[in-house]
């Protein structure tokens, strides 16, 4: 039997429906993404190599991310990475990573544990400045950079994307709060919510 995971923000019923042309902020909800937390000690070079062979990319260093066709790999901590991939790929990759680690690390499937949204539009920078303590100036927060920081009173993982857009990964239980915060933060510029989870 297959069940369809319910996206974290599927129930949201915000009245904010600015049209595409004049929305200062567009929130694209990616719904439930395949997410794996990989933990391995970076000094275990042979294990890191084996993992990199599975992913097809080198594990990124501090505050960096790496993107390949299969997945986006985000640095979380000196010994932890968050990997997003298609839901259909996650079991295969999880099994391959577990095998690569040979018992000396951990792979945890946290799919569905996070809301995966993307912020775009002309007001992204202003909204981020309102919301996070991190220095989001484009000189500092360059595309591909990943930071764990605060977002209003929540804790999030932010990733700078090209064109001034920003990815936000927030724990499912705080996703509603972040959405309501964004709604409040954009009352004067308009917000558009796009469900991209199908």
């Amino acid at each position: 039997m297959t069940t369809t995971a319910r996206p974290p923000l599927a129930h949201n019923a915000l009245g904010r429906t600015a049209s595409a042309e004049n929305a200062g902020l567009t929130i694209t909800d990616h719904g439930v993404t395949g997410l794996l937390v990989l933990r391995v000690k970076p000094e275990r070079v042979e294990l890191v190599k084996a993992v990199e062979t599975v992913l097809g990319v080198a594990l990124p260093g501090a505050l960096q991310s790496a993107t390949v066709d299969l997945a986006v790999v985000r640095w979380m901590s000196p010994d932890a990475w968050l990997i997003s991939l298609e839901m259909t790929e996650r079991e295969r990759i999880e099994a391959a990573l577990v095998q690569a680690l040979d018992g000396h690390g951990a792979v945890v499937d946290v799919s569905g544990g996070y809301a995966h949204i993307e912020l775009s539009g002309p007001s992204v920078l202003e909204v981020l400045k309102t919301s996070t303590a991190y220095d989001v100036h484009p000189d500092n927060f360059v595309p591909g950079k990943v930071v764990g920081t605060t977002f209003a009173k929540a804790t999030v993982l932010l990733r700078a994307l090209g064109g001034g857009s920003c990815e936000v990964l927030v724990r499912r239980s705080l996703a509603d709060y972040v959405l309501l915060w964004l709604d409040k933060a954009t009352t004067d510029v308009g917000m558009r919510y796009v469900n991209n989870s199908e």
Binding site: M76, S77, P78, A80, Y134, G148, T150
Partner: protein, 100 residues
């Protein structure tokens, strides 16, 4: 609000991203069963709490989640350095006389 350098993220970040976790470098007795009540009590409950130079344990909760140490002046709030678990920190010569 002040900035704290996380030695794992390698950046200065807002204090809001961190939690203080008390005095650093408190060694757990190697053989707790052989401790006197006084030794065990001192380990569990007693802290130096100095006015001035102090070494503290902090955790980057909103960031990398790692614990690390900060050498800080509790009177001026000046942070003299932050360093990873397992590393040593020495005060500069001028400060050495006041250091623990």
């Amino acid at each position: 609000m002040f900035l704290i350098h996380c030695p794992y993220c390698g950046e200065d970040r807002e204090e809001e991203e961190f939690h203080a976790a008390g005095e650093a470098h408190i060694a757990r007795p190697l053989d707790p069963d052989a401790c006197s009540d006084e030794e065990w009590g001192n380990y569990l409950y007693f802290r130096r709490n100095p006015r001035g130079l102090h070494r503290e344990l902090w955790v980057h909760v909103a960031g990398c989640g790692k614990y690390f140490n900060i050498a800080r002046d509790t009177a001026s709030y000046q942070i003299h350095g932050s360093y990873r678990i397992g590393e040593r920190f020495t005060w500069s010569d001028a400060e050495d006389s006041a250091a623990p």
